[in-house]
Each structure stands twice: as C-alpha cells, then as structure tokens.
Amino acid sequence: MNVLITLSIAGIITMIGSTFKDRSWILTVTLSALAISCYLAGAGWNSNVVFFDAMRMDNFAIAFTIVCLLAAFILSIIYHQLNYAKDAHYAEVYAIILFSLAGAVVMVSFTSLLMLFLGIEILSLSLYILAGLRKKDLLSNEASLKYFLMGAFSTGFLLFGIAMLYGATGSFMVIDIAYYLGLHQSAPEPFVVAGIIMLMIGLLFKVAAAPFHFWTPDVYQGSPTIVTGYMATVGKVAAFAAFLRLFQWGFAPALVSYQFLIAAVAIVTLFVGNIIALYQKSVKRMLAYSSISHAGYMLLALMVTNEISNGAVLFYAIAYTLASVVAFTVVAVLQEKNAGDDTDAFNGLSKRNPMLAITFAIAMISLAGIPPTAGFFAKFYIFSAAIKDGWVWMVAIAVINSFISIYYYFRPVIASFMKKGSDETINISFVMQLLLVLLAVLTLLVGMLPDWLTGIL
C-alpha cells in the first residue's frame, strides 16, 4: 500500500510540475519516488501484508513490483536523455508513467477480481495516452486509437468473465473462487468455465498472445520507441504476473478444463510471432512480433502448476526485460540519428559506435536464448517447468520456434558487424553508455549466475 501511495503522490507532484517552466527537477522526483517505492516494496519481503482483502503484498507481488519499478527507473533515465530538450509534454510523461506503475502494482498484488480489473484499467489507460504521445504524428495517433479500441474490447471480456464467476461463486475473492472450483472439481458448471475462458481472453489480449495480438505490431511501431519499450516490458510483465496469479491461485483446481486451450494459444502465439517476425524490415516491428512470441514461451508456464513455474516466469520476465530495454534503447538512439528503424539502419553500427553494437548483440543473443545469457537460462527454466509436468511435445514445439527466431534476431546483429554503413560516428551520453553496459553485463551475469534469482519464488 505504501508503494501505491508513494507512486501516486509522486505522480501528482510531477503532474502539477508540468505547469511550471522549470522542469529540471522532474526526473529527480520520479527517480527518487521509484527508488523509495522499490525500497518500500523490498522491505515488505516475507511479511505478506494484506490490505482490506483487496491486495496482498506477498513475495510474488513484491518480486514483480520490483521488476516493473526497476524497468521504469531505467527507461525514465533513457527517456530523459533522449527527449528532455524537445518534448513539450515532458513532465506529463513521468506523471503518467508513475500512475501506470500504480496500476501495475495493483495488478501483481490483487486478491480480488475487482482489484485486478482496476489495476488493468489504470495501467492500460496510461498506456493509451503514452502511445499517443506524439500528437502530431499520424502513426502515434493510430497506435493510441487502435490500442484504446482493442483494449476497451478486451476489457469487455474481462468484465463479462468476472460477472459470470461472481454469479457462480458469489464472490470476487480469488481464494473463494479457488475453494469453489476445488469443491466442484470433477464437473465445473459450464458458465464457470465460460467465465474462466472470458477472463483468459481478456488477459490474452493484454499479454498480446495470438490470435489476440493484432493490435501489437501497429501500436508498438507507432508509439515513441521508449514508450514501446515501456509497454513491452512493464506492460507485459505486469499482465503476465496478473495472469499467473489469477490462474495459479484462483483457477488451478480447474486446470484440466482450460489447459489445452492455453496449449493451443501458446502454439499459435509462438508460430505467429516467430514466423511473421521473419518478414519484418523494421526492427521495431520485429521486436513487436518477437514480444508476441515471448508471450508464447511464458504461456508454457501457465499450463503447469508446480513449484518452479512461478520462479520460471519471474526469471523469464527479468531476462526479457533486461534485453528488451537495451534493444528498444538502441533502436531509439538510431531513430534519433535519423537513421530510421529498418535493419539497414544498423549497417556498420560496430564501426560507428562499437558499444551500441555489442550491447545490442548481447541483447539479441539473450532474446534468442543462447548461453551464457539470461535469456538462455530463462528458456531453460520455463522448459524445465513444462517438462516436469510431462509437456515434452509442447517444449519440442517451443524449441523449433527458438531456432526460427535466431534468424531474425541475428539480422540486425549481422548488419551491425558485417555490413558497411555510413562512417559518421554516433555519440551518446555517458549516462546512456553506462546504463547500456550495465544492462548488458547484468544480462550476462544473470545468465551465468542465475542462482540468486531462481530460488526466491
């Protein structure tokens, strides 16, 4: 709760700040709010504080909260570095980011379906606005509108599902629903199953799983790149945490009735994401499809309920966030230099700025899941969770997709190391360099010493 309060107060302060001329202090306020929230969240470790039967800050919630906060922390700095001078709505961006994080915190810690709904809406509304940040850019407007329409549509499903479950069980509480499902394990009523499926569809929209992914490429491409990075990391991680929380603790007793549905969605998501990504010229769009495919891998962990599946999703989220932030930042830097976001923009990057090329390569290697990066261990962990419950054939399909993905992940890497581009060097600020190197080193370190992250959930 104190995390929520901190974030909201900071959000209000930065929003008021947008009326002042001097805005140099806004980043400081945002970053300190994020740091304090992180500390407050971390301080509650193992304490399982419950707020009015609406939220519970258990370790699961805290871990995902911290991932979201740290991703936001880094992206805030990068946004400042790239846009401080020219963005007319600089202060509002930080206000919205802080509010959206409040939504994310609710999403990962809910105990009642109403809070889940609230959290999702807070986060989504903020993201709709962020997507339309460049209000004179047609693509950005399209992104915002598309995202909003699709989001509103999926919200309908969510609400419908919640209503049905309430009708059947008489409660919004996840525990009560789990209890009810446990009692009726052998033959759950049809409209309970329908409710679960409705909720699933709503959440699948949010995590951009196929066939509910159609908004993703356009929205990801149209939004300002750092905002895309924010959606792809914080938005996705929070949605997945909510998904996992709801299904692992609420619907697990009815696992058999929806398991195959998730399996089917995961398979479609993997193939759609990976195969369409192969044909993308724009790296930003490629990353959008790759993020769809990563949702497919994470869905593997939702089909099983064993002691490692939560940890596996957390680990995957961390590995994916680390790599995605680097990838989107490098794309943003290139766009900044008017190079566009096509693969050709990466030509000769290793000559123009070796540091950008190397960190980007590490990020791609991690997303492709090759040792010794975090992405490899994340995949390994997810696969282990699935194989443990006997889903070997699903893992085989995921593996086929893994090596399809290498082709498109390596294309910009090949362009940056092996193709000739312009000779003009790209200079980036020291802070950016530091952040990128830090993230790349973390990607490698987490990959080589995953132990300190595997045991915590």
Binding site: F380, V392, Y407, T454
Partner: protein
C-alpha cells in the same frame, strides 16, 4: 584444480587480448595457447592411468536446480584436452602472415572458443556440458562470418541455426533425463547412466541426442552446412571447425549416447551406422570431383569423421579405441592440411586445382611435407591414420562384416582423391609462370614439421595415445553392456 586452470587460462587471456593494444593481440593469443598446451601436457603427466575422472573440481553452481560446476578429466576427456591444447598454438601461429582486420576481436574470439571447447571435454554435469557446447558456437560463428570469404553471411547463419537446432533437442533430452533422476534431481552425467529408462524413452532420447551430434559431426544427411562453411571460413576458422569442434559431436556420442541409452543404441545404432557409411562413400565420391582444394578437404573430412562415428556405433573395444585415436589424428592431419592449402593460396593466389600445377617443382621441401601429411590422412601404414582406420574398420568388422566392406571403401576412395589432388597440384607444369613461389619459410616449418613428426610418431608408436583412453573405454563398455549394475566411481 588443473581442470579448472584449463578453463581459467583461456578466459584470462581473452581478457588480456581485449585490454591490451591490438598490435599485440596475436602474440598474446600465441602465449595463451602455448600456456594452455603446457597445461594440458601437465595434466597428462599428472594423470594417473585408470578409469577414474581426476584433477576434478565440483562446486555447486545453481543449487536450486541441482546444477553443479563439476569438471574432471578421464582418459576420454584427456585425449581431447590434449588435442585442443596441442592444436591451438598451431592454429594461432598459422595466421602469422595473414592480414587480419580488427585482430583484437579475432583473437579474443579464438581464445573464448578455446574456453568453450575445453569446457565441453571436461564437463561432468550435463547442464554445464550443454552450456559449453553452445558457448563454442558464438565465437566460431563470428570468426567465420566476419573474417570469412564471399557469401560468408548467409552460409554461416545456416551453419549457426542448423547446429543450434540440433542441440536444442539435446536440451529437451537433458531436461527429461534430469527429471528422471531420483530424489533431488541432478544433472550429473554419471547419474544419467543408471536410470532404467524404458525402450520408448530410450528411442526418443537416442534420436534427440543423435540429431544434435549428427549435425555437429556432421553425419550424412545432416552435413549440408559443412562444405560451404569450411570453404568460406578463414583458414583459422576451418581449422577450428574441422580440427577440434566436430570432435565435440563424437565426444558427445561416446560420453552421453552410448552409456545413457544403451538399448536405444542397440535398437537404432545400426540405422545410424548405415547413415555414417553412406556418408563415407558419398562424401568420398564428391571429394573426388572437387576443383576447390578447401572444398575437397571439407568433403574428405565428412568421410573421415563418418568412419569415426561408425566406429563408435559399432560399440566394441577396437571401434571405440579407434575412434579415440582417430579423433586425435584427424585433428592433427586436417589442421596441417588446411594450413598447407592456405599456404598454397598465399603463394599462388588461388586454390583451384586446374589453375595450379608443378608446386613440387618450385617448393621441394613443401612437396615432401605435403606428401607425409597426405599419407597420414589416407592411412598408409606407419602413419597415424593407419592405426586409427585399422582399429575402426576392425571394430566395424566385428559388428558386421558387410558394413566393414563398405566402410573400407574410404581407404581406396581416400587414396584416389588425395592422389588426384597431389597429381594436379604438385606435379606437371606450373600454370602461371609469373609466380615464383619460395619454399616453406622458417615460421611455416615451425608449424609443419612438428605436425609431420606427430603423424609419424603416432604411426609408429600409437600406444602412447591408446594407453590413455583404454581404461575409460573399457569402463564405458561395461556400463553399456550392463546398464543397471551401478559401477563405482569414475
């Protein structure tokens, strides 16, 4: 501890190469690889004969999943550690006169690759094995793609995706085996040996592993990446790939497939053996028709390693011992061959057979050296290739005489294409009279003469290597024949 040092040394020198100025990179890499060689030789001295893994180190790595950083050296590992240690100085030295752009990155990648190779050969934990197995791929990919010849980008990407595809199926098999281990699961390879898997499980796991290793070796029909990749790769890259890296595949067959799924091998080993033999004949025939010397060598390499893999699938003492010694020999021969072809290319500016001729007339010493290596690789008695191929064919013969007859074609065909090469390139008239090639220089002699000496020494006294591996191979066969009896130690 020596096992750990084998890994630390290349790592330290990779960092040195990256930190120190670029004009020193080659020397640093050379010093690093010489020290590695010394260290692997020292490991040999310290190694006491027997079937136990020694000089080992075991520390928990990812304890929540029972993954250990568990390394150790037994006879089978030692011979490949020696091979890696021995060949690396030669491979680094072979670049002495080649102008390499951004040498810092090149040599750092080579040393990083050595770390991966050493790791594969001494890992005792399946997860660790897998990580090192993949770790070798990134450096060699960049070496071949960035410093490679024409069209290197699509060709090496194919190689990369192809080999990674295979090994991902191995990853599934490894995770599956992990969950089969009793109690708190473990990735220890030893504990995979006695799982009592059902016949169906053994079949699936056999093919998952086979796919990974067959692509790496490569065994027909998974070889399609290989000729192109060897051809476009820079000389050092081809040497790494053919000399050392493909041995990872054969090592994997011996270390993982035979003892873990003996029933799978019993049921499907013949199928694999037939693929190997098809590959031997097929690749030899294609090699016969090649004009590009590097390509010829690539195909001959498929034939040679096909025979080695066939010897492994025969699963008997002579087949396995033959595989062990022939892995070493093939590494030595193929590195010498690639170096000599690189030398010809540097002198004459071409490696096409019909543009070459009369090399022996211009470079007398080189002609003799080439002949020695050639005899080694076609397996003439008193050269290293003879003892290896003899043992391999004997092993296959004990398994099935017909298969041995077909596999034996490698000797005839090998001689046919290699002597064709010698006739076209070394004898006859010089095609381009403007070029006056100088005979081998001192630094080239420093590479070629030791390799030739090795070819002859092993040919005359093979026991020096065979003794290393014998106890470990015996033990392996014991496990293979009685998988459910838990043998002590190793």
């Amino acid at each position: 501890m020596i096992a750990a040092a084998l890994l630390i040394l290349p790592l330290v020198f990779t960092i040195f190469t990256l930190l120190l100025p670029a004009n020193n990179s080659r020397n640093i890499a050379l010093i690093g690889s010489l020290l590695s060689f010394a260290l692997s030789a020292f490991a040999w001295v310290q190694f006491s004969s027997g079937n136990l893994a020694q000089l080992s180190l075991d520390v928990p790595w990812i304890s929540s999943l029972g993954i250990h950083f568990n390394i150790g050296i037994d006879g089978i590992s030692l011979i490949l550690v020696l091979l890696t240690g021995l060949l690396y100085p030669f491979i680094v030295a072979a670049t002495l006169q080649t102008d390499i752009k951004s040498p810092k990155a090149f040599f750092a990648l080579m040393l990083a690759m050595q770390l991966g190779l050493m790791g594969v050969f001494i890992a005792k934990d399946a997860f660790l094995f897998y990580v090192f197995y993949e770790l070798t791929l990134i450096p060699v990919y960049f070496i071949c793609a960035i410093w490679g010849g024409e069209k290197s980008i699509p060709i090496t990407l194919k190689f990369f995706i192809y080999t990674l595809a295979g090994s991902l199926f191995m990853l599934i098999a490894i995770i599956y085996l992990y969950f089969k281990t009793p109690g708190n699961h473990t990735f220890d390879i030893q504990s995979f040996y006695h799982l009592g898997l059902s016949a169906t499980e053994q079949t699936w796991i056999f093919w998952a592993f086979f796919l990974a290793f067959a692509i790496k070796i490569p065994i027909f029909p998974f070889h399609t990446w290989q000729p192109d990749t060897y051809t476009v790769a820079p000389a050092a890259g081809s040497m790494l790939l053919a000399g050392i890296m493909l041995k990872m595949g054969i090592y994997g067959l011996i270390r993982l497939v035979l003892p873990i799924v003996p029933q799978g091998v019993a049921a499907w080993g013949n199928g694999a053996l037939i693929l190997c033999i098809i590959g031997i004949v097929y690749a030899s025939l294609i090699a016969w028709r090649q004009q590009d010397l590097k390509r010829l060598l690539a195909y001959s390499s498929i034939a040679h390693v096909g025979l080695i893999a066939a010897g492994v699938f025969a699963v008997n003492i002579s087949g396995l011992q033959g595989a062990m010694i022939q892995m070493f020999n093939h590494g030595v021969n193929v590195v010498a061959m690639f170096f000599m072809i690189d030398l010809i290319e540097r002198r004459y500016g071409t490696r096409w057979m019909d543009e070459l001729g009369g090399v022996a007339g211009q470079m007398k010493k080189f002609g003799v050296i080439f002949m020695i290596v050639l005899l080694g690789s076609v397996g003439l008695p008193l050269t290293n290739g003879f003892i290896g191929e003899f043992l391999l064919l004997m092993g296959i013969y004990q398994h099935n005489a017909w298969m041995a007859a077909f596999a034996g074609l490698t000797l005839i065909l090998g001689a046919a294409y290699m002597f064709r090469l010698y006739r076209h390139v070394f004898l006859g008239e010089v095609k381009d009279h403007k070029i006056i090639a100088v005979d081998t220089l001192t630094w080239e002699n420093f590479i070629l003469i030791p390799l030739c000496a090795l070819i002859l020494i092993i040919g005359v006294y093979p026991a020096i290597l065979l003794n290393i591996t014998e106890p470990a191979v015996q033990q392996l066969l014991q496990i293979f024949n009685a998988p459910n009896v838990i043998t002590s130690g190793l």
